[in-house]
């Protein structure tokens, strides 16, 4: 909003030159456009009228107007999507809004160290993966969008199973996700986006409860080489609480093989209690973002040095593991 002078607009000067708009601009100068009424040009007049209207319109009416405009945009296809299929309009108004009660009321997520995420430019968030269903990814995305000062969108990199599954695939793309491959990671990072990876993949998310908070192998370190090539920092992220939402005590391998799923979990409540077993346990979550690990001092060719990539991968993994132990020690109970 451009600030508008509080004092009375100066009376129109009786000069041969037309009166000039008195609204001050963002840089402190006067607007100096030709006056329409009230000592303001048409643009600033419209702006002031709008501001006045907004001040008297009750909240619900503004919400109704916003909702109707949103619906019209959706029905007529009038919204932007980026090359990856990311639809910010839908993500902010629907997906994140749907996850928010879960974040605030159910898991009572506490996000720490958000200032370790740069306010602009590319960065790669690397986190541990757990919980049978990738709710941890959604919570991390919401933590950054809601509580980071720059309200950044986390662009998640997912397995190809995600993009093969009906219903899940379009939601993943529209909410900013794309395939976890080097090409896409580098494209996102060099475009200055904030990308997120869960390098443990299905090994991490589908591990039995007995192995909770033990980090699995970190893939082939593809995420590290992508970060080096794009010269962006790696932000380690440790998530505590997600392990307990659906504790896996068994895996029906026959069913998994039959349907091509990586695992079919058995939890204390699922499938025993039927649909009720789909309700996650209300554990208390902490998401901690650690200090960024810079890669811009490394040579771009370092991405092709397997030893260096392995070492850096191990370093990231170790930071996350140590932070997990620290957070677990500091936790009073699973649920509070």
């Amino acid at each position: 909003m451009i600030p508008i002078d509080g004092r009375e607009p100066a009376p129109p000067r009786r000069s041969r030159r037309a009166a000039r708009c008195t609204a001050s601009l963002a840089d402190g100068k006067r607007c100096r456009e030709a006056v329409v009424a009230d000592g303001l040009c048409d643009e600033h007049l419209a702006e002031r009228l709008e501001a006045e209207a907004a001040a008297v319109t009750p909240d619900w009416e503004r919400k109704l107007a916003g909702g109707l405009a949103f619906l019209r945009r959706r029905v007529t296809g009038d919204y932007p999507v980026d090359d990856f299929g990311f639809d910010p309009d839908l993500t902010e108004s629907v997906f994140l809004a749907a996850v928010r009660p879960l974040y605030e009321k159910y898991f009572r997520v506490e996000a720490r160290g958000l200032d370790n995420i740069p306010a602009e430019g590319g960065a790669l968030v690397v986190a541990n993966h757990s919980g049978t269903v990738p709710l941890d990814a959604l919570m991390t995305q919401l933590a950054i969008f809601d509580h980071h000062p720059a309200h950044r969108h986390l662009r998640m990199l997912g397995a190809d199973l995600v993009f093969r599954s009906p219903l899940v695939a379009p939601i993943a793309r529209k909410s900013g996700g794309t395939l976890a491959c080097n090409e896409d990671a580098e494209r996102l990072l060099s475009a200055g986006e904030l990308a997120g990876v869960w390098p443990e993949g299905f090994k991490g998310i589908g591990k039995p409860f007995s192995e909770r908070y033990k980090l699995q192998r970190f893939g082939r370190g593809g995420f590290v080489s992508a970060a080096i090539r794009s010269g962006v920092p790696i932000v380690p992220c440790s998530i505590v609480g997600a392990e307990e939402i659906y504790p896996i005590i068994g895996n029906v391998k026959i069913l998994a093989r039959l349907f091509g799923f990586p695992y079919v979990p058995v939890t204390p409540t699922f499938p025993l209690l039927g649909p009720l077993g789909l309700l996650p346990l209300p554990s208390k979550w902490v998401i901690e973002f650690g200090e960024p690990i810079a890669t811009n001092e490394l040579d771009r060719g370092a991405a092709d040095d397997p030893m260096l990539v392995f070492n850096l991968t191990d370093q990231v993994r170790e930071v996350i593991q140590q932070t997990l132990y620290k957070l677990l020690l500091g936790r009073r109970s699973v649920f509070f």
């Binding site: 009750p58 009416e61 109704l64 107007a65 109707l68 405009a69 019209r72 959706r74 029905v75 007529t76 296809g77 009038d78 919204y79 999507v81 980026d82 090359d83 990856f84 299929g85 639809d87 190809d160 199973l161 993009f163 093969r164 599954s165 009906p166 219903l167 899940v168 695939a169 379009p170 793309r173 529209k174 794309t178 395939l179 491959c181 090409e183 896409d184 494209r187």
Partner: protein, 351 residues
Amino acid sequence: MSSRVVLITGVSRYLGGRLASLLAAEPGIERVIGVDVVPPRQDVGRTEFVRADIRNPIIAKVITQAKVDTVVHMSVIATPFGAGGRTAMKEINVIGTMQLLAACQKAPSLRKLIVKSTTAVYGASSRDPALFTEGMEPRSQFRSGYGKDSTEVEGYVRGLGRRRPDVDVTLLRFANFIGPRIDTPLTRYFSLPLVPRMFGFDPRVQFVHEDDGIEVLRRSVVDEHRGTFNVAGDGVLLLSQAIRRAGRTSVQIPSPAVSAVGSVFRRAGLVDFSPEQMQFLQFGRGVDTTRLRVDFGYVPAYSTLAAFDDFVSGRQLKKYVDPARLEHLERRLLSTAERRRATTAESGVRA
């Protein structure tokens, strides 16, 4: 070296005809020879038409006798619709290209070969990167169809490039064409009153406007542009979004029923849904056009979105869901709400 004698295959089809008439108007070009099996329906200017099949040895004679220095090959067809079946389509595409390239290789006058290919050579699968660059390989296997034919055609073209290093080969991979005049399986698809799509999937689609496509082809002939280039409008549209922008509604068909529905449409002659097309409608595809913009030096005038909107307005597609009426409805609802507030405020004052 600029072109003097240009031979265009597939001149009776929409794009071929438009290119021919543009080149015929180019003062630096002496002769434009158009080849096709049927005479062109649109005005092609001073183009000399040769009625021949590219599988016919006549082509070789035409090329040598007319001292053709530039061949524009654009008769690789996308659907078995008009060709009379998949076998005939493959025959025309692959065998035809082989014969044409054999004739080209023997022609000492040839300096330039421009081939209209397609981004379908990248396939469509869940393992695809968001955008394909020219150097990337497809992540899925083709069984048959346009993509496979085009991949084979590109293979033969590269072979010719190796054997005749003196010939400049320009390989143009076009995204799906769209525009107010061109007729493709996809334009017919979006013109259906109720647009079927795959249940649970919403692919990204990318378009190139017909005018941009023609301009890229024209520049390839007139200027020097050796190499392979993706040609597409900036950005992507989601299929559901495109359908909405066309003012249509879509119906989601569960995948077991898709092939049945597809064959009904095919038999009814409405839209040709090949298995490959189905895959495209499931996973979609996007290509990177940095090379076109930087190396080729052409920035498409229409983005994907603008090209699609031009198609919708140019075709005068009847919008079943009308944005203007929706906006009107929205305003009425809001003013009703405002009036109700005003009356309640008034009664509040009176009380």
